[in-house]
């Protein structure tokens, strides 16, 4: 069950990224100044970008672990083709 959630999250991540990059959102972020007087739009874009990178890194690690787990299970149940894997 948790694995399925993980796979769903992997599919969701690019959608979240697309959402953050919609012009509507960018217009909201445009024009102000953040932190050390940085323009808000580039600051937002690069932060969102970094968040996506970190998210992808974490998810990929977990997914690889899960995949390795299911490979082992497949081997253990004597189902080398993995055809019955649902």
């Amino acid at each position: 069950m948790r694995n399925q959630k993980l796979r769903d999250a992997a599919l969701l991540l690019p959608l979240v990224g697309t959402f953050l990059l919609l012009p509507t959102i960018l217009r909201l972020m445009s024009g102000g100044r953040w932190f050390a007087d940085l323009p808000s739009l580039p600051a937002f874009l690069y932060m969102a970008w970094l968040a996506l990178i970190v998210g992808a890194g974490l998810l990929s690690r977990l997914l690889l672990k899960v995949e390795a787990g299911s490979e082992r299970k497949k081997a253990a149940t004597g189902d080398p083709d993995g055809k019955t894997q649902l």
């Binding site: 697309t18 012009p23 690069y46 990178i53 993995g82």
Partner: protein, 913 residues
Amino acid sequence: MSAGAGSGILSVGVVISVSFLYVVLLFALAFWSDQRARGDRPGLLASPVVYTLSIAVYCTSWTFYGAVGSASRGGLEFLPIYLGPTLVFVGWWAVLRKLARISKVHRITSIADFISSRYGKSGRLAVVVTLVAVIGTTPYIALQLKAVATTYVAVTGATAGAASGSIFADTALWVAMCMALFAIVFGTRKVGADEHHPGIVAAIAFESLVKLIAVMSVGLLVVLVLGPGPDGVFSPGKERAAELSYLWTFREGSGTRWLTVLFLSASAIICLPRQFQVAIVEIENERHLATAAWLFPLYLFLISLFVIPIALAGMTLLPDGSNPDLFVLTVPIATGNDWLALFAFIGGFSSATSMVIVASIALSIMLSNHVIMPVLFGLRRARGSSGELATQILWVRRISILVIFTLALVYYRISAPGALAAIGLISFAAVAQFLPALIGGLYWRGATERGALTGLIAGFAVWAYTLLLPALIQPDVTAPLLLADGPGGISFLRPQALFGAENWDPLFHSLFWSYVANIGLYVGISLITRPGPLERLQSALFTDAFRQQPGDDALAWQRSATADDLRGLTERVLGRDRSDRIFADFFAGRRAPQESLEAAPALIAQVERNLAGSVGAASARALISGVTKGESISLDEIIGILDETQQVIQYSHRLETQSRELEHTANQLKKANEQLRRLDKQKDDFLSRVSHELRTPMTSIRAVSELLLAYDDVPEERRIRSIGIIAKESQRLSRLLDDILDLAGMAEGTVTFNIEETDVIAILDDAILAVQGYSEQNGVRVISAYDRAPMHARIDRGRLTQVFVNLLSNAVKYNDSPDPEIEIRAIRRHRVIEVSVSDNGPGISEQDRELIFTRFSRSTSDTRSKVSGSGLGLVISKEIIEILGGTIDLERNTSRGAVFTVRIPVSNGNAAG
């Protein structure tokens, strides 16, 4: 074009020798990597980091130099070029993983091969994809050559340019020749089992590293020189701030272009032939994608991090009118950092050369496998020759590379000076035409070859008309009226305002109409055409990639070939060594004798797969057909393959559901059974109780009447008493029978209730009055502890009286306290009238609680003779109250006797009061 007179400080000799040394280094690195990979000691080469860096071939000189130029002109509009690929890699799990898996299993050699394989190994589809790719990306290669030439001029101050000097004085020619040599040496060393080029991958990974460090060095210089703080990189002086604010705000009306570029670059990272080559064809291990998923976006992040600062620096430090496309070079020169400028030049050189090398190899593979080789095979068959093919294939590859470089050079020499700059996105839009067929082919089983073919051709035609044509036309020279007035003056066919789409962003305009044509025809034609057997087989293998195994398809084929023919073919195409290895591998795990005359179907499939890895699926298929006989695909087997996995899933789902349902039904049956048994027992009990209850009065009636019959001389007084007993017992009998009938009637619903709005308190008063005589007779004190204010409910007056009388008389009847009393309370709680009757009698034991509302179940401890009645009173009361919509309960944990509570809902009309 140049950054200004006198800005080129580095001598021509230095630049040329450093560039030359750099190229030599690349050759050495590629050679060394090839050797290592061949020696089965890949080490670092097989690491996901090298793989990721090789994907960074995406960042060409167009992005290396052009991003700063684009930022100078349009602010953050350069970013979607990097953000699109980020989204694709972050979502690698969805698409890239499937592409990689399929490519590995089917030994895909290029994007043309992929699309052609998916649609029944269609040769013509492969040709169309190849031609689109060549037309779409050759100008892009030309752009790289131009970038090298232009930047060479900028960094050295030399005057040689494409337009002025002879071709031999043109840097671009020499760069092109060097890169063609490199591509030929390392891209066509051998005909491989699959298109893996470790040497080239290592070299471009290295180049990716160089260009990243180069851009970041320039960026750091800018931050150091200008300083990050006030009046620095992001906060130029107040008077400049307003003027430069477009650099970091989102321009109104740029949303469409932003999304278009985002989409195009996302599609380009898959569909550009060179990206497909490095990311999908060259991938050694699917797990590398998991690293690239974050590392490649990180690379893009870093390479774009300093774009705006460099643009700012260029605009601040350099004279007005300087070419912003060259800021990466001219800013270091302007600040006196010549060596950094040289490094930046090498970085740009890297991004150009790596793109040129990979693109030319990818295109040459497509061109040779799908266009030249099929013709060659046709000619050979016609001539009946059967000589060595392996060498010929390599030569075809080499010639293809030269053809592509020649095309690029020609394009570069003849195109207008400004025409190349826009070609990057135009190229993206061309290869985006592959996307519907590619993605549709991965997930939509019903997509057909004819749908893909027509969609692709139509989309490409619209792209050429709306984007390529306007870019090529020089308004003052060629067909000046075409753009302004449309062909033949038909204004709704104007290339940049098709069907009256005025003032659209040109890129969006082209993408929109080309996709309308492409997707519309792809879907439409797919829906009305039927796929052939091979198409159906391939579509099943592709869409179900994660459940299929290599070799599944062998089952579907019915064909025969002699082992000799097959071996002969393999040797001719792949060479003797490879052929021996394939056959040895095949027979290693089997008992079948190698000398068998007939080749096993699995062997034929194995050979075909190996051939496909070298010459593409369509050509491999044609070659195999040449040596097999009676070739056909068994439709049954295909349907088997198509459906097997789905059936397994459906079947197990069905089983699961069924077993759940069965379990549920069994539980229900068990419950029903228990209830039946209980009811059966109750019925038996009921019958025996009824017989018993009837028997008691009957016995006394019979005894008394027999006594009266037997003796004539019974004294008058005694006779009267006896007749009184008979009358009383008869009454009891008929009461009992009335009760039974009453109960049966209520259970069957045949008893009618006369429901009306009535005051419950008045009924209670009546009931108390009715039992007054009985209670006084038994010396029981009745306490009415309730307010006389009326409480209305919709009830049957007579029936409710019956219930109260029953409760009260029970309370009187069973009260054996020395000072017996009954207390009656009535209150309204929210929307319920609560009437409770309590006594100070013995109460009802816990074990009897369940029984008292069942038929004939007088309390078991109740043996007192004075107790009379049918034992049905409480049961009837309960039925009545339930029919009236209320409840009757025996309260728990009371301090004294038994407390019965009747709860009846108040009528709506009385709700407020």
